[in-house]
């Protein structure tokens, strides 16, 4: 993709201190939630971030939103470091990066009307829409996300789950941001509603030339909407590539295990499908394994994996970066298919 990236994340680290004691707090360690993450995001592009619970993907979202300050590293929006901004400058910057949250049942205030919820961003950033103009703007937004502008005075409980998520999307769009972070945008919705919301997100992206960072655990959803995909494990990106590179020719064992675990909605050939079943659970991010963090569950692990951390770089036989000493292309998604 050409041009300057709109968002550059460089070697981002966030450690949360673990303390002991009430009066005299001592730091006894740290949760390494995000540990050296780097990627670029271009205008109009969608980056999918996948990983299991505890891999740091939500902390990453908070760092991009400047809701948490990084321990080290930079988040550059159009070349300016968000993490170093304070006060007025930070508030002005927040206009550009908005978020859509997972659960439309808890992320909307039940005592506010839809008009107040969607129009609230204008209270904080009054320069975007003059007071007299706001009602009209909110009605336009409701129309854009497929809700009736007449419903502006209704309350969230009068809407179904899918409609509520549309309200959340309208709120995210209100300030005309460049980037929207979608944190599990459809996982709380019914199956028949998920497709509606995914289609809406895609059409809005085309209309407003938005850039998305989509954080999700559902790999099928990410494959559908992402242009590029970052796979995270224990605070690190283990593999990064276009959707095709990640899904059709993954090279990192963790990506392969993750993909092979996704049930394919087609019973034909299910006996032949190859499954990589990982043993055990994800280790604690307070005490991650030395070297490669995946080695404790990896079937390829050798002595070097414990000693030397594999850098995220292109490996032999593939063009996209992968953090594995023994990276090797393996198509797990299409195994079991005839021909």
């Amino acid at each position: 993709m050409a041009g300057e990236p709109i968002l550059q994340v460089q070697d981002l680290v966030k450690h949360f201190p673990l303390t002991l004691g009430v009066l005299y707090k001592r730091q006894i360690g740290s949760i390494q939630a995000v540990d050296g993450v780097s990627f670029d995001l271009h205008q109009g592009e969608t980056l999918g971030v996948v990983g299991e619970s505890g891999c740091g993907k939500s902390t990453l979202a908070k760092l991009i939103m400047a809701l948490e300050r990084p321990t080290s590293g930079n988040v550059l929006f159009k070349g300016e470091d968000i993490a170093k901004l304070r006060g007025k400058a930070l508030k002005a910057m927040r206009r550009n990066i908005q978020i859509i949250l997972q659960d439309p049942y808890t992320s909307l205030n039940p005592r506010m009307t839809v008009g107040d919820i969607v129009g609230e961003p204008y209270e904080i950033h009054p320069e975007v829409a003059p007071r007299g103009d706001r009602r009209r703007r909110v009605q336009e937004l409701l129309e854009v996300v497929g809700l009736s502008p007449d419903h502006i005075n209704r309350y969230p409980h009068q809407f179904s789950g899918g409609q509520r998520q549309r309200i959340g999307i309208a709120r995210g769009l209100a300030l005309r941001p460049d980037i929207i972070v979608c944190d599990e945008p459809v996982s709380a919705l019914d199956v028949s509603i998920q497709a509606q919301v995914i289609n809406l997100l895609e059409s809005l992206q085309n209309e407003f030339n938005l850039s998305y960072v989509v954080i999700a655990h559902d790999l099928s959803v990410v494959r559908h909407i992402a242009d590029r995909v970052a796979v995270m494990y224990l605070g690190k990106i283990v593999e990064l590539g276009t959707d095709r590179e990640i899904y059709d020719s993954p090279t990192h064992p963790y990506t392969q295990a993750l993909l092979s675990a996704v049930p394919v909605p087609n019973p034909e050939g299910r006996e032949a499908r190859e499954r990589i079943i990982l043993e055990g659970d994800v280790p604690s991010p307070a005490d991650p394994p030395s070297g490669c963090r995946f080695r404790t569950r990896c079937w390829k692990a050798e002595a070097i994996c414990a000693e030397e951390e594999p850098p995220l770089k292109p490996r032999q036989g593939s063009d996209h970066p992968s953090a594995c000493h023994f990276a090797e292309v393996k198509d797990v998604v299409h195994s079991g298919e005839s021909g």
Binding site: G161, A195, Q196, P263, I277
Partner: protein, 343 residues
Amino acid sequence: MTVPRADAERRAESGFSGPLLQVDDLHVEFRTRDGVAHAVNGVSYSVDAGETLAVLGESGSGKSVSAQAIMGIIDSPPGFVTRGAIRFRGSDLLTLSDEQRRRIRGRRIAMIFQDALSALNPVYTVGFQLAEMFRVHEGLSRGAAKRRAIELMDRVRIPAARQRVHDYPHQFSGGMRQRIMIAMAIALGPDVLIADEPTTALDVTVQAQIMELLAELQRESEMGLILITHDLGVVADVADRIAVMYAGRIVEEASVHDLYARPAHPYSKGLLESIPRVDLKGSELAAIKGQPPNLLRVPSGCAFHPRCPYRREVCVTKEPPLFDVAPGRGSACHFWEEVLDGR
């Protein structure tokens, strides 16, 4: 390890040759302040030993309520089973006394729930809760019950069971807690296991572990498994037969291969077309339009008609019965032939 079963009871009943568990024309309603919600409206399905039946539906489809009716754990009031029968080895559970039902529940028909953390008691160790099953149902001593609890934890592959038997639920990960739920469900060697969204709260790699464990336990003990889920992927992986529910009714019933290859109801067809797939990258998803129905105001005729591309006048006025599409296959659509032919 031997499977703990009351063998005498089993032999006594072996003369019966119908389906292991049969739900027949079940109706459940909830009498709420806002009106009567018809959660289950005439649902029939059955499961045989060693078979996996998937009950697929979205929230509010009645899939969980029908399972709760089988277990006899619907809160009443507001919930009432108003019609129908639930036959376990031929005898209707709904006509039994509370005491007789209690002896079947857990022992012959067991259930696992979505959220293992809230289903386990946080103030007792998991070992105590597992052992309780044996002390209450089989009258074992504390020591013997604890030994059985450790065996069970081994059987569901919890590492270091001998030590972990003394741990509390919060000390386990989500996947391990679900294993404990499964251990508790299979403790008494049930004939039927009902799994209500067993992996929905879990990560995909853990989901794969749990589904494999369930399949293995089923192979060992020939349980009938009723898998309640909204996940078309999980169903395709493990089910033999599938019943698709919408607004409290079964709209399609078929073998899993038939349903995925050629759905015969517009709702199942719409669901299959609307899901993003990890093995395919399409353009726009073919979404089902509209919203799931409100159970207080279920649409007239066919409940799916407001969202259906095949809708005609008859759909608004007349509720379609479950038409026979093929042996063992049914569709509750007036125009199932058109849907089946993909017209």
